[in-house]
């Protein structure tokens, strides 16, 4: 089933990212330490994040690309860095203007006059005077680098402050332990890598796959968004694989193996393995994520989403089909840069903090990067605080959590909705390029085509998850879309793509008209059907798996081609090398000569299956069948149809009534056991007086005898 596939892809992914994972984990653990809880802010953040999920809202949320921390007109507080708001920050302009300088001076003077501290006030020292300085300050500030004191970052300072000596010791011990563990782990990994046993690796692989699947399942339950993220990663791996030639059998090793494969079974297997791996990695899973280009449906949204050709690499994993998208993108990089900050928070909102670095290979500007990092950490802190919120602020939390819950619901619903529409879009759009590509390489394309139902199914499962939550928790106001929803139910999926297109249109309309996302499914749909469907799919999947390597159609075509070739009359080459010209090693008879002595075979009659692509008609006599066929017409028959007719008439009781059966099977001569059969008499056949005294023999055809008998009798009487 899809779970299997998922597990495989997960495994493949994990293999790719095995080493990359470790440091990230550490990062996470470090960031856990810094905790800041502000219920209000957190809630605000969450709201933002959630609302940003919806396309329109997200666009409205203008991202500030300033180098400072979050500064908004509504909430005046510095965030994340742990430092207090400083007046200087507020006053500080982007560029130092001469007009304000005097005022500033005055102000500072006033401040400095109050108390004189030694060493001098920070503000005085760190005040940026030149634009360059300003910039440097900015940078430092952003990275929370100490501006004055070069020893400690605010974070460090805070942690130092937070820790007592014991704590510090403990922390150190912890770190040491972690380091030791890491080294152990590395050593272990090295050791395991050296093990040559294939079986061991196989078992390990299987175990890992299982584990990954399990984890994924759990994740899906606990955190669907994270699961989506995981899916995205798989998709990304797929793309990477497709771009690379890693498993394409084109490398040196593969080439050498290909040569060996003819003779060596192992080499063949290795090659096949590699190919299957390629297939596995390039198999497309339907990736569900929470960007909704279809909601906008218009060009500009898509442009925004897919800013560049390069963006494919960048893994906007939720894109329905990169090939389709590339055609309609005509945007600059600015769009991408604008878009990126928007997308990242979304990711963060779902508590996934890793694998950012890989995802953005094109982000050039350091500043922006920094900014993102910062923001991310901020979000994380929010979440952490949300998770481990103390029971201090009850009233706020109650209301807040309620709201959060409801928001979550909305979110999940939106998610669901997005998946669905994406699925439809993908299925409708995806067909075109697939079909087009099918012609050059049909065998490679086939699995893609066949996989369609499962992809749908995975999404469906996710949908189901979300839906259940929805129905259980709360009844949300839903726009009138029930009819459409019922249409979307899996049982009428096999319908033509036309319908899908129609649906798409409707969705667009709806989205234009209504702000709220429509509900997903009506309750009226019985779950049993889905179960059945699932079973069916299961079955199909199983069959597909069982015959994964078989390409029946190609085999058949090949077979037919061979049959045609074999049945063609062969040319006769009567060329004698060296006859009439020089001969010897390396000398071939001239083309002219060959042409002259090549006796072309006459064209045979056209094959009967010429116009039947799915049929091979063998016009040769089958010797196996011939053993059961009569070759020559048997003696008494004068025409074949006479004989055939005798054969075609069944005599068994299966086909005849009892009476007819008895009649048909009566032997010509019936004798009674233990009775003496006397020679025939003239009276017996009714010649003189028919007194059939002893009839132990019943003749079936006495007439013939009678006539002969008569003749004979006459003759004898004459004699």
């Amino acid at each position: 089933m899809t779970a299997n596939r998922l597990a495989e892809s997960l495994l493949a992914l994990s293999q790719q990212e095995e080493l990359a994972d470790l440091p990230k984990d550490y990062l996470l653990s470090e960031s856990e330490d810094e905790g800041d809880n502000d219920g209000e802010r957190k809630h605000q953040k969450l709201l933002e994040a959630i609302s940003s999920l919806d396309g329109k809202n997200r666009r409205k949320l203008a991202e500030r690309s300033e180098a400072s921390l979050k500064v908004s007109e509504f909430n005046v507080s510095s965030e994340g860095s742990g430092e207090k708001l400083v007046l200087a920050d507020l006053l500080e302009p982007v560029k130092t203007s001469s007009s304000l300088a005097t005022v500033k001076k005055q102000l500072s003077r006033v401040k400095s006059k109050k108390t004189v501290e030694l060493p001098l006030n920070k503000e005085e020292i760190e005040r940026a005077r030149t634009p360059l300085e300003q910039e440097i300050f900015n940078l430092l500030h952003k990275n929370k680098q100490p501006v004055t004191d070069p020893l400690l970052t605010p974070v460090e300072k805070a942690s130092l402050q937070a820790m007592s000596l014991e704590e510090a010791k403990m922390r150190r011990a912890e770190l040491q332990r972690a380091r030791a563990l890491q080294s152990y782990y590395e050593a272990k990994a090295r050791r395991e890598k050296k093990i040559k046993s294939k079986k061991y690796h196989k078992v390990m692989k299987k175990g890992k796959a299982k584990k990954a699947l399990k984890e994924f399942e759990q994740l899906r339950k606990v955190n669907p968004a994270a699961a989506l993220e995981e899916l995205e990663k798989i998709e990304k791996a797929r793309m990477m694989e497709r771009m690379s030639l890693k498993h394409q059998n084109s490398g040196k090793w593969a080439k050498s193996k290909a040569i060996m494969a003819k003779y060596d079974l192992e080499a063949r297997q290795a090659m096949q393995e590699q190919l299957s791996k390629n297939k596995e990695l390039t198999q497309k899973l339907q990736v569900a994520s929470e960007s909704e280009e279809e909601e906008g449906g218009t060009e500009d949204v898509e442009e925004l989403l897919v800013p560049d050709v390069l963006n494919e690499v960048q893994m906007n994993a939720d894109g329905p089909n990169p090939w389709m998208l590339r055609s309609c993108t005509s945007d600059t990089k600015e769009a991408a840069t604008q878009e990126d900050p928007e997308q990242l928070p979304e990711l963060e909102a779902h508590g996934v903090s890793e694998s950012e670095g890989e995802e953005r290979p094109v982000a050039e500007e350091e500043i922006l990067l920094r900014e993102f990092e910062e923001r991310r950490s901020l979000r994380k802190r929010f979440e952490l605080s949300q998770d481990a919120e103390p029971a201090g602020s009850q009233e706020t939390k109650d209301s807040g959590s309620q709201e959060v819950l409801s928001e979550l619901r909305v979110l999940s619903q939106k998610l669901k909705e997005n998946h669905q529409s994406r699925k439809q879009k993908a299925s409708s759009e995806g067909t075109i390029p697939q079909v087009q590509r099918e012609e050059p390489a049909p065998e490679e394309e086939e699995p893609l085509l066949l996989q369609r139902p499962e992809r749908v199914q995975t999404l469906e499962e996710l949908e189901e998850l979300g839906k259940e939550e929805c129905f259980q928790n709360k009844e949300l106001p839903r726009p009138v879309l029930e009819g459409q929803q019922s249409e979307r139910t899996p049982n009428n999926r096999p319908d033509a793509p036309k319908e899908k297109k129609k649906k798409e249109q409707m969705i667009d309309l709806q989205n234009l008209l209504t702000t709220q996302s429509p509900s997903v499914k009506s309750l009226a749909v019985p779950t049993i059907e889905e179960l059945e469907d699932e079973e069916e799919r299961n079955q199909r999947q199983m069959i597909k798996e069982a015959f994964a390597g078989d390409d029946v159609i190609r085999d058949f075509l090949k077979e037919k081609r061979e049959a045609v070739e074999a049945s063609k009359p062969k040319d006769v080459d009567l060329t004698l090398p060296g006859w009439g010209e020089w001969g010897g090693v390396g000398l071939k008879p001239s083309a002219k000569k060959r042409r002259r002595f090549l006796i072309k075979a006459p064209e045979g009659p056209p094959r009967k299956d010429k116009n039947l692509p799915n049929v091979i008609i063998n016009e040769k006599r089958n010797i196996h069948a011939a053993a059961h066929q009569v070759r020559v017409l048997p003696y008494p028959f004068t025409h074949h149809w006479q004989f055939e007719r005798t054969i075609q008439t069944p005599i068994g009781s299966t086909w005849n009534t009892q009476r007819a059966f008895q009649k048909l099977t009566t032997p010509k001569v019936v004798t009674k056991p233990g009775h003496i059969i006397n020679p025939i008499k003239a009276e017996d056949v009714g010649y003189r007086s028919s007194s059939r005294s002893d009839l132990s023999v019943i003749q079936r055809n006495p007439k013939r005898i009678t006539t002969r008998h008569k003749k004979q009798l006459k003759k004898s009487s004459v004699d």
Partner: protein, 596 residues
């Protein structure tokens, strides 16, 4: 109202007038409100009653509580029915009642149609019931006085219970069978497979040898059947001893030292009371079939001392006349010591003489001057003769066709002649690889058995040139005489090594009494084998026989020789003037001349 109501059976249903056509048709049970039912009942003369099946159905039709009959007349009937259902599915019961003649509770005409629920599933019945109920409702609603007058003829499905209800439990259940050919496809392949299996089984069960009768102290020279008793067989040996055997007990019941030297011929009288023997001592002796009393000596009834050696003897089939052969064919009256007439044609010794079993005045003989001569007993001179390539050892008349006889020839072949056209034999039977010494027809006249010097016996169909069966054993030497028993089931052969062997005529036949099914199966298999006999696979299996090496190599040799001869002939024809070398058919080749 009486219960059960009078029987009324009609294939045509007449809707009862009161409730309108639809109602009459569709609702067998008239259920109505109290007032309605009373009036209706009065009108009809009998009120509604519920048959067991209906009530059974009603018991099951939960959603129709309102249908329960309200009137008191209905109550007992309903009670019965419900009792019936409570015990279990009463379908057998129900059907019996439905079709049973005596207690069929047919009320107003037309009931049967609706109640005709023959299906065994109650589910169906329920459905039917419900439908009926609906129809009833509809009918009630549209019940009008105008509709009351209409009559309706409906053709209904009727089944005669006699066709499927068995009278006693000992009767076989008649199973209806659908012979629709689409339901039984692949008839030819299936029958082919059956035929193939039958053929194989035939080969598996082919064990023809039954018994060997030993006791003679020299080679068995002649055999004779008892005309009235199947179990009795007589044999004469080369040491002049005659033995009488009981086949059922497979032992010798009597031993007579009949002659000095060979017993050349032996024959029984048509009545079975006595038999004749001829021997090398130039005597013809008549013996009683029953042995002498205790202490008496074995003595012939009559002894005729002839002038020359008699080589064969045969008795007339109806009269007290017998014929011997030697230098000439003598026809004797039993009462006289001199022959009635002697017939000769040529001067060679005659080896065998045989009376025609049908045209009993005819007889044939074969002489060592390669002749087969036919005689009419009523004439003084022979009828005609045919000269063959080589000497004929014996002839045998077909007991079912008066003018057909078969001659066992020295040239390994047997020739079946029509005595009216001797110039061409009807059939040349060739399979033996040595001289054929004896031949005997099956009493059915369809086959004959031949004994050969090549230590085997073969069974030939009359109309086939090749044998259908060959019998041999390791110990059986040159077979001198052979007889087919009068019930056509067995074959006896006497051979050089002093034994008489008993064989089954049909090698794979099961002995003993067959049940009718066995018989049917046997017949069917036989027919199948016949039908598919030309199919190569079947043919090959059916034809396969094991042969002793000597015979096998002989056959190969014969084949080569024959092929060489044929080739030479073809070459001769090819290289000589067209028409100068006549093309002679195989049949005609062996006949030298026919003389009348």
């Amino acid at each position: 109202m009486q219960w059960p109501p009078p029987l009324r059976r009609s294939p045509l249903v007449r809707a009862s007038p009161p409730p309108g056509p639809a109602r009459g048709l569709l609702c067998p049970r008239r259920v109505s409100e109290a007032g309605d039912s009373s009036t209706e009942g009065a009108r009809m003369g009998h009120s509604h009653y519920v048959t067991p099946i209906e009530s059974a159905m009603e018991g099951r039709c939960q959603p129709l509580p309102s249908l329960r009959p309200a009137s008191p007349t209905n109550a007992p009937a309903h009670g019965r029915g419900s009792d019936c259902t409570a015990k279990g599915p009463p379908l057998a019961n129900v059907c019996r009642q439905n079709y049973g003649a005596a207690q069929d509770p047919v009320g107003p005409a037309g009931r049967r149609s609706a109640r005709h629920v023959t299906g065994s599933s109650l589910g169906k019945a329920e459905v039917a019931c419900e439908r009926r109920w609906r129809a009833e409702l509809v009918a009630k609603r549209s019940w009008s006085p105008a509709g009351r007058a209409t009559k309706m003829k409906v053709k209904m499905l009727s089944r005669n219970p006699d066709n499927y209800v068995r009278e006693t439990k000992l009767d076989l259940q008649r199973v209806p069978r659908n012979y629709d050919p689409t339901l039984h496809p692949f008839e030819v392949p299936r029958e082919y497979v059956r035929a193939l299996n039958a053929t194989k089984l035939e080969r598996v069960f082919a064990k023809p040898f039954l018994a060997s009768l030993d006791g003679h102290r020299d080679g068995v020279n002649c055999l004779a059947k008892h005309p009235k008793n199947l179990a009795t067989v007589l044999s004469g040996a080369c040491d002049g001893e005659v033995r009488i055997w009981n086949l059922t007990q497979r032992n010798c019941i009597r031993t007579i030292q009949a002659h000095e030297g060979f017993v050349r011929g032996i024959c029984t009288r048509f009545c079975g009371t006595s038999f004749f023997t001829v021997g090398d001592d130039k005597t013809v002796k008549q013996w009683k079939m029953d042995g002498p009393g205790y202490g008496d000596e074995e003595e012939p009834l009559h002894t005729i001392l002839g002038k020359t050696v008699y080589t064969g003897i045969d008795h007339h089939w109806k009269e007290a006349v017998f014929a011997t052969c030697g230098q000439q064919v003598d026809i004797w009256d039993e009462q006289r010591t001199n022959p009635v007439c002697s017939m000769t044609w040529g001067f060679d010794s005659i080896s065998s003489v045989k009376f025609n079993p049908i045209e009993t005045f005819l007889l044939g003989s074969c002489a060592s001057d390669r002749n087969i001569v036919l005689y009419d007993m009523r004439q003084a001179t022979p009828l005609k003769k045919v000269i063959l390539d080589m000497r004929t050892n014996t002839i045998c008349w077909n007991p079912m066709e008066a003018f057909i006889f078969t001659a066992a020839n020295e040239d390994y072949n047997l020739y079946t002649f029509d005595m009216r056209a001797l110039d061409t034999p009807v059939m040349v039977h060739m399979d033996h690889v040595s001289a054929v010494l004896d031949v005997d027809y099956s009493p059915t006249g369809k086959e004959f058995v031949s004994a050969s010097f090549d230590k085997s016996i073969r069974i030939f169909p009359v109309d086939k040139s090749r044998s259908r069966e060959v019998y041999h054993t390791k110990r059986m030497q040159h077979v001198i005489c052979v007889k087919w028993t009068s019930d056509s089931k067995y074959i006896m052969c006497g051979s050089d090594e002093m034994n008489i062997r008993l064989w089954k005529a049909n090698a794979s036949e099961k002995l003993g009494v067959l049940t009718s099914r066995e018989k049917a199966a046997k017949d069917y298999n036989q027919k199948l084998k016949e039908k598919f006999q030309h199919y190569p696979h079947i043919k090959r299996i059916a034809r396969h026989r094991h042969l002793p090496k000597s015979i096998y190599s002989q056959i190969q040799e014969q084949r080569i020789m024959k092929e060489a001869r044929r080739r030479k002939e073809v070459n001769r024809i090819k290289h000589s003037k067209p028409g100068s070398v006549p093309i002679v058919s195989e049949k005609k080749k062996h006949v030298v001349a026919v003389v009348k």
